[in-house]
Every structure is written in structure tokens, then in C-alpha cells.
Amino acid sequence: MPESTITEHHLGVREAVAMTVVLTTAKIFLGLPRSLAELGGPAAWLIVVVCLLHGPVIWFGVRGVIMLHPGRSLITATELILGPVFGTMANLGYFLYFAMLTTTVVREYAESMKSVFLRETPLPVLVAVLMGSALYLAYLGAEGLSRTCWLGGPFMLLGFVTLLVMGYSTHAEPHALFPLFGFGLGRIVAWGTIKDIIGDLLILGILAPSFKGPKTWTKTFFVSWALIGLVMLSSMVVVEYVFPFPASDRITIPLMQMSRVISLGPGIQRVESVFFLIWLVAGMLKLGAASIACATVLAQILRLPSYRHLLLPLGIIFFSVARIPGNFSQIFLWDEIFRNFGGIVSVLLPNMTWLVGLIRKVVKARAAATGQA
């Protein structure tokens, strides 16, 4: 029997955008708004604005690396630029980034579920169930997952907008955003520069070969970036309006709390359940995408043709590591540390790699010219 015709499947722009937006923005359903409120006070939303500027910088670095070796992913191109030793070390950095992301998110979600929705279920069971479902989603592949994100996207967006509008309508403090610069402009810029909240965009670099071409990839990147900015900024602003500082600093999961306080007459109340729906779906999809990213990076480092065989061992490792933090506050601390230093991997590493690649290219060209002469 002759072989079949085509062996590749490609990611569509809409689907990839949906997956990237879900992966990056799902953290607003956890403790990120509280963490930003703690740093910026009434100007926490301005930290988001500064953080969003990481987007073009990440794009610059990742695109530079990929363009030096067209058709390659961020991982394989990095290894070609930095060599097998330093390249692998850099790639392990990417792996650890997504591993840390998966681990913290799975534990945060499990803790939140236990504290709010399933109080009698043991925590390890919740971690295992979340991890298991994420691995299943990852097993289905980036194509299937991205299509699921595209399908769920409108519902999640609708639920999210409803939540913000109703939350704002229930209670809003008019002067919540003042003083405009909060604890000071310097602090905003400093934390905005350090805090890594959109580094998840790196997944587009890892999946770069799955796109039709560089133009499609760039389009996907910037559309995702714009939507991420819109979602994060709007949620942060509304959180600040509904829970003015310092209240926003004292609520562990502000958006969940917002869903609980909504009460617009007898017909519109207990929106918490609607929130729970989008909260859980977003979390699962985020975990699935992060698991794909993790396994893909490792598979590319190990030069394996498929990442699927790595999912089960990685899942066991994530489950074990996610059990290490003793309580809710410790996992938030882990998340804070991860967000404070994540920029080293997401922003600096691709740009440094690109710089090294350019230098090596120039050196090689000069050496070639000298050899010819």
C-alpha cells in the first residue's frame, strides 16, 4: 500500500492566538492581580502597561534567533547558535521556565479549588486530576489544543467581560486609581521591568516551525500580544476599581472574590458559578499548553521526534514538585519568585542568544573573507 500524502499539520493564526492568549492570561484568575496591587498600589495597572512592553522585546529576540536559522524552532536554533554545551544549558533554561510555570499553576489551581469549591477533596487528588487532564490535553497535540482554545475562547471572553462589567456595576470606587503613580513612577517602572507576566509568549518560539511562515508567526505574536494586553489591563483596572487598594492587596484571588460579590437584583447574583466555569477551563487549557511547551522543549533538546513519550514522566515530576510547597502562601511565594526572575529566561535569553548569533555570523563572514583573500 503506498504511503499517504502529507505528513504535516499546521497551526492556524486564530487557533494559535487563542492558545497563546489563554496560556498567558489565565494567571489573572489566580494571585497575579493581588501581587501587582501589592507592588503598585493604586497604580498596579501601570505596572501591567510597562510589563506589556516586554512583548516587542521578546519578539525581537525570538525572531532574531529563528531568522538566523530559518525553519528551526527557538530551541534548535539556540543550540545551533550557542553550540551543544551552552545551547543545551540555555535550552534547559527554557525547559525549567515552562516546568516552573506548570508546577506553580497546577498547585495554585488545586489550592484554589480546594479552598473554594471542593473543600473535602484531598489536595493530592486535585493536583493529580488537574495534572492528568493537562497531560491528556497535551497528548492531543498543539493543533487540537489550540482549536479547543479557539472554541472556548468566545465563551471565556464573554464570561470574562460579563464578570468585569457586573463587578464594576456592583461596586466601583471612583478614586480608586489615584494617586495615578501610586508609590512612585520609579517603582512602577522598576517592577514593570522586572516582573515577567507575558513571558509565556515564548511558546510561539517553540512552536515556530508549526506556522506557515515568518509573517504568519509575527502576525500571531502581535495579535496575541495585543489581546493579552487588553485582557490584563482591563482586568487589573476593574479589580482596582472594585477592590481599591489596600483591599486588593488582601484578597488572594481578586477575580474570584469579584464574582462572589456581584449582586444586581434577584436575577443576577451568584455569578461565582459562571466564573468557576471559565476559571477552570482556562486553567486546564493553560496547563495543557504549558505541558506541551515543556515536553516539546525537552524533546527538541534530546532530539526526539515526538514529545508525547515524555508527557507521563514529566507529569509525575510536576506532580511531585507541586506537592513540595507546604501551603497556599508558599506556592504564591514560589510564583512571586518565578515571576520576578522569569524575565531572565523569557526576555534576556533570546536576545542574548540572538546577539551571540550575530557576532558569530560576523566573525564567520570575516574569517571566510580572510580565507578567500
Binding site: 486564530r14 472554541l151 458559578s273
Partner: protein, 565 residues
């Protein structure tokens, strides 16, 4: 005995395996690239005979040939082959033999149109002067062939043909004379519509082909015939429109059909399992229909279809979950009505699948979502029920499945009785006995009604099975379990393909003007579905209502209006 090879794959990476690679092309690429015939060499559908019989030629000696036929058909141990030896009154007289299989060929036909002309009786035919002319001109009417290979004659006999052997000639004339009883064309039973045609396929493939051909009167309509099954030698037909259907799709269909290597196959459902992408999936990935109009519509849009002898159903490939929720009737009504019906079906799909699970999750885990008066009413009705909600739900659902299965299997006259008895047991008696609460009767009834509103039988079955999975998820983890399971369920569907087309198309990948859950007006459906990557995307002019003077005019306003110049 534990199969170590099966277990090994969970521990050691098998890097040689890949997933099914067939795809109809990148979703974003120009269609011209996707249909280019850079694909595999064209395969042919499997022939009826393979092996040694193909190499046996016919002899000039009639006796040798008859001996060979007797050996092949195991005469006299096995009965059925009828051999009439006759002397044809030529000058000089010629020995001939008429062979057919009892029950397969029509004896009246054999007598009137074969034996009598051969014997020069009845003045039906003027006999040719030589055996050669006789061979080629004996049956000017009807479908007759001159065969030179032994296996061709055997095949014709198996299909109800009659063969005429003439002594001294190395060829055999065969003629179609099927004599078995056939069911006449009747109305559709499982895809009933109020408007539009109501006829359905029958078990005879030629009748079915004629039903489709009547609707597609173009020379581009292709019917490729083949056979499947070493024992059954069942006729199959691959149907497509030559200048519309993607060559790669046709090749893939041929490739998969050619790969079916079995002794016996006799129905479309079994065939579907051999050729579909996900034979272990709960969802069907091939559309099975009994309606010729639906087959013709799909063929005109660039799909391929397969008909099989002895089955009154056709297979249409590729298919999507959206197509499984469509009914032929959607197109026969005005688009608002068609859309309304489709949305009702989508709602019924979700109700049939999720309602019992959602009720269980709400009643057990998320009582605050239920309005307080209703919650109190439910609590009051459950006061006397001795079982937990999970047991209640499972009892009702299992009872419903029992009744459903029993109603299908018993004779038609008894069916309604079982329905009434079941309803009484499930409804009145169970509530009065305090086994279940009244609210659950309403839930089960709504679920049952919703499941019957799903237009495709295979999808109904899938939904019924998924319903129990959702009940289990709700019992264990409440609403969280339902949501998580549903997310994985949708992701699973999103990752599925049917003959290279995404299963959730045209929702994802998205086609802007696709025939999706919302049905566009017929005059706006300018393009064929993207998922089949047809050779010609356009299926009608943009101006389909020329008197309006506007391309793809919007739906007519309720007030009517003057035609625009």
C-alpha cells in the same frame, strides 16, 4: 497471558510510530496547491478475483470448459450450477451450453431471451450464420459481454448472469439476468423529513446508483466499481464528481478501500470501521445516510461517497460533528427555520449529554446555583427517597436504556406496549414507591426527548454513552468533574480528523461563510465547504437572484419589497 509488547510501549518510547499522516492540506494555503495531484499514484479498487483463477483462459473446447466449471463449482457435491446443453440449428448444427446459477438468474428470462433464440423458437431472433457471429451478436438487447477469461465468466454467474458456451469458440457470451427478489424503494426510516424527497436507498447497489445518478446528470459523475471480501465478493461503488472532488481525497478513499482485506463484508457499518480514521472513537467519523438526496448534495459539494451491495446505507467522507447534527430537511426550508431547527438540535445534543450529570453536580455539590424555592422543592420531594442522587440518576438512566433497547428489539406491534409499561414503571410507579423523586422523572424525560432529536443514529449512540461518563464525573467531582471532562471531550474532538478534514470544521478551523450551525440562505452559499478542499470553490454565482441586481442579496425583509433594477 500478559502481552509484554503491549505493556512495553508504556515504558519504552517507540520512536518509529507516527500518527495518521493524511491531511487535505494546510488550512491557510491556497486551494490550488491543496488539490494538485502530487499525491500518491492512483490506486484501483480491489478486483473480485485475485490469485490463480485469474490465469486460467477459456478453452476452444466446450466440454473442457464445462468440466472446468463443474470443478470450480464442485459439482455434483455442491448443487446450484445449471448447465443446459443445446444444439443450435445452424448448418452444420453447433453444440452450445447455457450455464447459470439457480436462484441467481431469472429462469423466465433465461428461457425467453437465451434458450429460445438459441433454438430458433418463437421467432424472437434470426440466428447468425456462423458460431463467431453467434458469439458476438446473439444478444443485441440488454447488457451482454464476450468474455475470454474464465474468472470473468465465474464472476458474471455469481452476479446472476447467464453464460452461453459455443463449441469451437474460445469466448463466452454472458448476459445479465438477475432473478433474485429485491425490495422496492421505500421512504426513509431513520432520517425522516417533512419537506423534500422522502425516498431511501434499498439493498440493491444498482438501484441505489440509479437513485444518485438521477440527481447528478453530469458526465463528470464518477462511479468506480470494485469488490470487497474474498468470500462475499460484495460490490462496492466509490462515487465522486471528477471535476470538483479533491484528487487526494479520492485517492485516499481508494487507498483505504483497497486496504480492506477480509473474507466477508456485507454492510456499510462494518466497512466504515475498516476505513475511518478513528475506529476506536465513540464518535463516528464517517457519515452514514439512507437518503440518496443527501448523498447527491454532498457529492456536489466535493465529498466522496461509498455504496455497498446488500446495505441500504451510503457512507459519506469526510464528515464533521456539524454534519452529524444536520438534517437533509435544513436545506429544504427557509434559512431561519433551518437555522432554528439546527440550534434546537445543538441544544438537544447538550441536554441529552449533560443534563443528568449537571443535575447531579448541582444537587450534590453546587446547591447555591439552584434558586432557593426550587431547591426547597427538590429537597422536599427527595425526603422520602432512600437512595442517594447518584443511585437515583443511574437507576433512571439504566431503566431508560433498557426500555429503549427493548422497544427496538421487540416486534413492532409490541413496541408501543413496552413503551407504555416502561413509562408507567419509570414515572408513576417509581415515584409512588418512593424509589425516585419526581424531579428526576422530568430530567430523564427531557434527556430522552433530547436524545431522540439528534438526527444521526450513530451520534445518538455516542451521546448516550457519554451521558454515563458525565454522570460518573459529576458523582466524583461535581461541576468541576463535568467541566474538566467536557474540556477534554471537546479537545479530543478538536484533535480528530475525518479523511484529512478537521472534525470540528467549519467552526475550528473557521470558515466565515460555511454551512455551520447557523444555516446561511441558499442564495448566499456561494462556496463549497473548505474542509473538502474542492477543485472549484465556487458552487454558484455570486448573483443568484439576478432580478435584485445585487450580489448575494441579504435575506428578504419581512415586509417584502420591490425588486431592484
Amino acid at each position: 497471558m500478559i502481552n509484554l509488547t503491549q505493556i512495553k510501549r508504556f515504558f519504552i518510547a517507540d520512536l518509529t510510530t507516527t500518527r495518521d499522516p493524511f491531511s487535505l492540506g494546510r488550512w491557510d494555503e491556497p486551494i490550488d496547491d491543496a488539490v494538485s495531484p502530487k499525491a500518491t499514484p492512483v490506486q484501483k479498487l480491489p478486483p473480485a478475483f485475485e490469485g490463480e483463477l485469474r490465469d486460467v483462459p477459456l478453452s476452444c473446447s466446450m466440454d473442457t470448459n464445462i468440466t472446468h466449471f463443474k470443478q470450480q463449482f464442485k459439482l455434483p457435491t455442491s448443487q446450484g450450477l445449471i448447465i443446459h446443453r443445446v444444439q443450435v440449428p445452424l448448418d452444420p448444427p453447433v453444440e452450445a451450453a447455457v450455464i447459470y446459477i439457480a436462484g441467481m438468474a431469472d429462469t423466465t428470462h433465461v428461457s425467453n431471451y437465451v434458450l429460445k433464440p438459441l433454438l430458433g423458437e418463437g421467432g424472437l431472433t434470426i440466428l447468425p450464420s456462423t458460431p463467431k457471429e453467434m458469439l458476438h451478436g446473439l444478444f443485441p438487447e440488454g447488457q451482454s459481454y464476450v468474455r475470454t477469461e474464465f474468472y470473468e465468466v465465474v464472476l458474471d454467474l455469481m452476479e446472476g448472469g447467464v453464460a452461453v458456451l459455443i463449441d469451437g469458440e474460445a469466448g463466452v457470451t454472458t448476459m445479465r439476468a438477475e432473478g433474485w427478489r429485491k425490495r422496492s424503494i421505500g421512504p426513509a426510516k431513520t432520517e425522516v423529513t417533512v419537506r423534500g424527497p422522502s425516498e431511501a436507498f434499498v439493498e440493491d447497489i444498482r438501484t441505489n446508483l440509479s437513485q444518485v445518478r438521477r440527481r447528478l446528470r453530469t458526465e463528470e459523475f464518477m462511479i468506480e466499481l470494485g469488490h470487497l471480501g474474498r468470500l462475499s465478493r460484495t460490490d462496492i461503488a466509490l462515487l465522486y464528481i471528477k471535476n470538483i472532488t479533491n484528487d487526494r481525497l479520492v485517492n485516499e478513499a481508494r487507498r483505504r478501500l483497497a486496504g480492506v482485506d477480509v473474507d466477508y463484508i456485507n454492510d456499510a457499518g462494518s466497512l466504515a470501521q475498516y476505513i475511518e480514521d478513528h475506529p476506536n472513537a465513540i464518535y463516528p467519523t464517517v457519515l452514514v445516510t439512507e437518503r440518496p438526496d443527501r448523498v447527491a448534495t454532498h457529492l456536489a459539494q466535493g465529498f466522496v461517497a461509498v455504496l455497498i451491495e446488500n446495505d441500504a446505507h451510503a457512507l459519506i467522507m469526510p464528515t464533521t460533528i456539524t454534519a452529524l447534527l444536520h438534517s437533509a430537511e435544513d436545506a429544504y426550508l427557509h434559512w431561519p427555520a433551518g437555522t432554528f431547527m439546527r440550534l434546537t438540535r445543538v441544544l438537544s445534543y447538550y441536554v441529552a449529554m449533560l443534563l443528568p450529570g449537571a443535575y447531579l453536580a448541582l444537587a450534590n455539590y453546587r446547591q447555591e446555583m439552584i434558586p432557593t424555592p426550587l431547591l426547597l422543592a427538590i429537597a422536599q420531594t427527595r425526603e422520602t427517597v432512600p437512595f442517594s442522587t447518584v443511585i437515583e440518576v443511574l437507576f433512571m438512566e439504566c431503566s431508560f436504556e433498557l426500555i429503549h433497547e427493548a422497544t427496538l428489539r421487540v416486534p413492532t406491534v409490541v413496541g408501543p406496549t413496552i413503551g407504555i409499561v416502561g413509562t408507567l414503571i419509570l414515572g408513576q410507579a417509581a415515584v409512588q414507591a418512593g424509589i425516585i423523586s419526581p424531579i428526576l422523572v422530568i430530567i430523564t424525560a427531557a434527556t430522552a426527548l433530547a436524545s431522540f432529536a439528534i438526527p444521526t443514529y450513530e451520534l445518538q449512540m455516542s451521546v448516550r454513552m457519554w451521558r454515563f461518563t458525565y454522570i460518573a464525573a459529576a458523582a466524583v467531582m461535581g461541576m468541576a468533574g463535568v467541566i474538566m471532562l467536557h474540556t477534554m471531550h471537546v479537545a479530543n474532538l478538536a484533535a480528530m480528523n475525518s479523511f484529512g478534514a478537521p472534525y470540528l470544521a467549519p467552526t475550528t478551523p473557521f470558515q466565515r461563510k460555511g454551512d455551520n450551525l447557523v444555516r446561511a440562505p441558499a442564495f448566499q452559499l456561494d462556496k463549497r465547504p473548505e474542509l473538502v478542499r474542492a477543485k472549484h470553490v465556487s458552487q454558484q454565482d455570486e448573483i443568484t437572484r439576478p432580478w435584485t441586481g445585487e450580489p448575494a442579496a441579504p435575506p428578504p425583509s419581512p415586509k417584502g419589497g420591490k425588486p431592484k433594477s
